[in-house]
């Protein structure tokens, strides 16, 4: 029982709580609660004014009901009334109610703020603390507005009691976190820093949290705290366990304060002043030394407190990253913890080592522990610890151990928790790519990934392997062979079919010589998986089939048979149907030359940032590449593609480009998966990742060497030959934009848009010569019936400068139904 008898023990409340606990069912509980709520409501509404004790009791009951999980929509007024009571416990309950059930009624807020103001100026430290606690618990903007200037004054005033200073410091911290713009720096800031020297350890403890937060946003303002912090820390670390009296915790001097001081120091670079730095290094060495000494107590609290300081000191050493001696010692200490009996310590050691691994001074030292970490990955029973081990392997990976680490991570993946698989897959993919010396190893790794954790292999990963295979001639044959073998497994993942389909479509010819992987065998293999796959995969396979027709004419008949059958050309999915129909037609009417050109081998992808890294960074904190780096590339790419003297046409054209379903744009299937607005890699420029989700929305039109603003599909696709006028015209059956006519001198292009019965056509004339055209005129003849329906409006006629992109246009409006 407490030392002081609790004469205010509200019996009514205790009875009510007992009743609730004795309820046998949820319904009974709700019934009892409703009964009580009705009772309280009537008491509050009643004509008899309630005395303070009753009010307090009912407000407390309401609070209890709310904390059980039920909604309370009254009682605020009564709680606010309690605030103005001069009985401490009534005030206390009132404050508790309003800090738990925060209400945004402005009248109430005004009253609350008033009560707080009164208590703050009451000169009674207990009341002041109550008010400060309330502000800290609620931390609303209205409170910040009312009190953000008052509290710093209280904090640094000479006559403020210590307990009030402590509350004021943390209250100010809360206000600063929620409304930083209302807490203005002033002359109080330097005096706050000096609180670090206060003789009351509690005041220092509270003040330091405030200073740490403020100095992150205003480092210059608070930089004098560094030397003060170092001296304080030094005094604590070298003190005997009896010096600090009640601030010693299980024989550890001031552990919370020490940790906070070390945290504060992590906001700043190493101290420039030699003396200060020397003292600090000495401190850190002492802390590291103490870790080796036998413990003063067997209690876990002692070791936790001691190790808490140790880990924080190691964090500081890592942050400085400038004292090789300390870094190596830290690494060794962590290495010891890796095999400690206590799971907590193993967990924290793995976590800390991750950060150490990225420092050049300690990277090698970290690598020496690879066997221990691999062992942890295999044998730890706690999944959180295993995950930390996996993180550490990722961090310590470099060229020397990449193969080993990737192999371990792959075997871990086979049994890993589902929640972490996607991240593991991304990491393995990144490591495999980054450290691949032999690309056939890379291909094997990715295919293994798909085999083991196919569901978690996101699109970015398999796009990447395809990009790499396309770009590297030396691995194409190997990739084809491996993928062929992998597909022969009875149950293979759909992602494997996608990769396999694409690669065989591009490079199947490299293994077609072997009778075991002859063209028909390849086709049958792919087709055997066809019915098991989803629509996008089937679409990709269809594209692979048309590529087969080009690569292996002997398969033409078989494949056409397949394309011709009802399940393809009458497929309910529009994309599949369209592809089947178009590929079938293409295979029948195109000459072999045309087919070969259209289905030419995919050109190498331009070098670009890996979108896998971006995806990993999005999933989880710090990645190997800074996000800003990635974003800069994207932004730059967008600008360069869209800038220059292209004029407003680009956006409009681009928009209509995006809406036009031109089959040649995604002939090769893969781009159907990419966002529609993906910009083409235009000649000479960059670095915009086609497969990234955040790519610029409007694709810019490709610019061909003639300098003419062509609205043809992305340049990566080989454009159809321009020699045949028929072909040029024919394509307008399904396209609104394109090149209409071209000869040595002139290129004419059309852009049109249609909406219901209205249409608009723009004609563009491009000067291909290096001399100026003079007196350039155009005439449009509208034969017969069309005459009445077409309105021809020449826009502007200027002499056309040579070799430049011009904005010369003639507008025709047609009103044909």
């Amino acid at each position: 029982m407490p030392a002081v008898s609790k004469g205010d023990g509200m019996r009514g409340l205790a009875v009510f709580i007992s009743d609730i606990r004795n309820c046998k069912s949820k319904e009974a509980e709700i019934k009892r609660i409703n009964k009580e709520l009705a009772n309280i409501r009537s008491k509050f509404k009643g004509d008899k004014a309630l005395d303070g004790y009753s009010k307090k009791k009912y407000v407390c009951k309401l609070l209890f009901i709310f904390l059980l999980g039920h909604d309370i929509d009254f009682g605020h007024m009564e709680a606010v009334n309690l605030l103005s009571s001069n009985k401490y416990t009534e005030k206390q309950i009132g404050y508790l109610f309003i800090s738990v059930l925060v209400n945004s009624n402005s009248e109430l807020i005004r009253l609350i703020n008033n009560a707080i103001k009164n208590d703050l100026s009451s000169r009674n430290p207990t009341f002041m603390c109550l008010a400060l606690h309330c502000i800290a618990n609620v931390g609303s903007r209205e409170m910040a507005e009312a009190f953000a200037s008052e509290i710093p004054r209280i904090l640094v005033a000479g006559d403020t009691m210590d307990s009030v200073k402590q509350s004021a410091a943390l209250c100010l911290l809360r206000l600063y976190k929620t409304s930083p713009d209302l807490v203005l720096m002033g002359e109080w800031t330097s005096r706050v820093v000096h609180l670090l020297n206060d003789q009351h350890m509690g005041v220092v403890t509270a003040a330091i949290s405030l200073i740490t937060c403020l100095s992150q946003k205003n480092p210059d303002e608070f930089k004098t705290c560094v030397s003060l912090a170092v001296s304080r820390l030094s005094r604590i670390v070298s003190s005997a366990s009896t010096d600090l009296q009640d601030y010693t915790y299980y024989f550890v001097p001031a552990p919370w304060l020490s940790c906070k001081l070390l945290r504060l120091l992590q906001c700043y670079p190493p101290p420039e002043d030699g003396a200060v730095k020397g003292r600090l290094v000495e401190c850190l060495e002492t802390i590291l030394n103490k870790a080796q000494e036998p413990p003063k107590s067997k209690k876990v609290q002692h070791s936790n407190a001691k190790n808490a300081i140790l880990f924080e000191a190691i964090s500081l050493i890592i942050h400085y990253d400038s004292e090789p001696n300390l870094l190596v010692r830290a690494c060794n200490q962590l290495g010891q913890f890796l095999q400690h009996r206590e799971t907590n310590l193993r967990y924290l050691a793995l976590e800390s080592m991750c950060t150490l691994a990225s420092s050049e001074f300690s990277h090698e030292a970290v690598k020496t522990h690879i066997e221990t970490v691999i062992n942890a990955l295999k044998t730890e029973r706690d999944v959180s610890v295993r995950q930390r081990a996996a993180d550490l392997l990722y961090a310590m990976c470099d060229r020397s151990n990449a193969k080993q680490i990737v192999a371990e991570m792959l075997s871990y993946l086979e049994t890993a928790d589902y929640s972490i698989r996607e991240e593991m897959v991304l990491k393995v993919a990144i490591l495999a790519e980054k450290y691949a010396v032999d690309y056939s190893w890379y291909v094997d790794t990715i295919l293994n990934l798909i085999r083991i954790a196919g569901d978690y292999v996101s699109e970015e990963v398999w796009y990447r392997v395809i990009q790499i295979v396309i770009n590297r001639d030396d691995v194409q044959g190997y990739a084809a062979k491996t993928v062929f073998e992998a597909l022969q497994a009875p149950a293979c993942h759909e992602n494997m079919v996608k990769v396999g389909g694409y690669i065989l479509g591009e490079f199947g010819n490299l293994i077609a010589g072997d009778p075991r992987s002859s063209p028909l065998v390849q086709f049958n293999l792919l087709h055997s998986k066809f019915h098991l796959c989803s629509v996008p995969t089937r679409a990709l396979l269809l594209s692979a089939y048309i590529k087969f027709i080009n690569l292996f004419p002997e398969t033409k008949a078989t494949i056409q048979e397949v394309l011709r059958c009802d399940s393809q050309i009458r497929n309910s999915d529009v994309e599949l149907q369209q592809r089947a129909v178009e590929y079938l037609k293409l295979s029948s009417i195109a000459s072999t030359d045309v087919l070969a050109t259209v289905l030419e081998e995919m050109p190498p992808f331009p070098e670009r940032e890996s979108s896998i890294l971006a995806k990993l960074k999005k999933k989880k904190g710090p990645g190997a590449v800074s996000v800003t780096e990635l974003e800069d590339n994207k932004r730059e790419g967008g600008e360069l593609n869209g800038g220059g003297d292209r004029g407003p046409d680009t956006a409009a054209m681009a928009a209509s480009n995006a809406s036009t379903p031109s089959p040649s744009a995604d002939l090769l299937g893969i781009r159907s998966a990419a966002p529609v607005g993906a910009p083409p890699a235009s000649t000479g420029s960059l670095l915009v990742d086609v497969f990234s989700e955040a790519g610029p929305a409007a694709p810019s039109a490709a610019v061909n060497d003639d300098g003419f603003l062509s609205s043809a599909p992305p340049s990566e696709d080989p454009a159809p030959p321009l020699s045949e006028a028929d072909e040029l015209l024919n394509k307008f059956v399904c396209k609104n934009n394109g090149v209409l006519f071209e000869n040595q001198l002139l290129q004419i292009g059309i852009k049109s848009e249609y909406r219901q019965n209205l249409g608009r056509m723009y004609l563009f004339y491009g000067n291909k010569t290096s001399v100026q055209f003079a007196s350039f005129t155009t005439t449009v003849s509208c034969p017969g019936d069309l005459q009445s329906h077409i309105l021809f409006v020449p826009l502007c006629s200027e002499t056309k400068p040579s070799n430049r992109i011009t904005q010369w246009k003639a507008i025709t409006s047609s009103l044909s139904p």
Partner: protein, 159 residues
């Protein structure tokens, strides 16, 4: 610290202290999910886990789980000791505290917590000082019960 939850092995919430502004709906959702996650942990597992973008530090004392959510850069071990210190305070105040004490005197549990932690940070780490502050308040209440005006009470020194 972002929040602290105390709950029983049946998942009944005994105390909830939130140090970040969240809607009631969000609080309920977080509570539900986190309680489930922690209760699913086995006894020998470590006291830390990653949950959403926070670190969770928890420890079981008899029938109650004490669970704190801290940010990435916060120190896990010292948070474990914050939990222990809070339990010590409750223990000293109630005399061998048990779950029932916290149920029937929930408001006291909040008051004690406010003297120890404020805004999610340690305010006073001396056990003596915290308990003295609580006793002082109780004394005040005694005084007011006997009719004396609290303002005539001489300012207590808390040091």
């Amino acid at each position: 610290m972002q929040f602290m939850l105390l709950f029983s092995r049946q998942g009944k919430l005994r105390l909830q202290k939130w140090y970040v502004p969240l809607s009631d709906k969000e609080k309920k959702k977080i509570t539900r999910e986190l309680v489930q996650t922690v209760l699913a942990r086995k006894p020998k597992m470590c006291s830390f886990l990653e949950w959403r973008d926070l670190k969770i530090v928890y420890k079981r004392y008899a029938s109650l789980y004490f669970c704190c959510a801290i940010e990435d850069q916060d120190n896990e071990l010292i948070t474990l000791e914050i939990i222990h210190r809070y339990v010590e305070l409750l223990d000293k105040y109630f005399g061998s505290v048990c779950e029932l004490d916290i149920i029937f005197n929930f408001e006291k549990a909040y008051f004690i917590l406010d003297e120890f932690l404020l805004g999610g940070e340690a305010q006073e780490t001396s056990k003596k000082n915290v308990l003295k502050a609580i006793e002082q308040a109780d004394l005040l209440q005694e005084v007011s019960n006997t009719g004396l005006h609290p303002e005539s009470f001489v300012n207590p020194s808390c040091v």
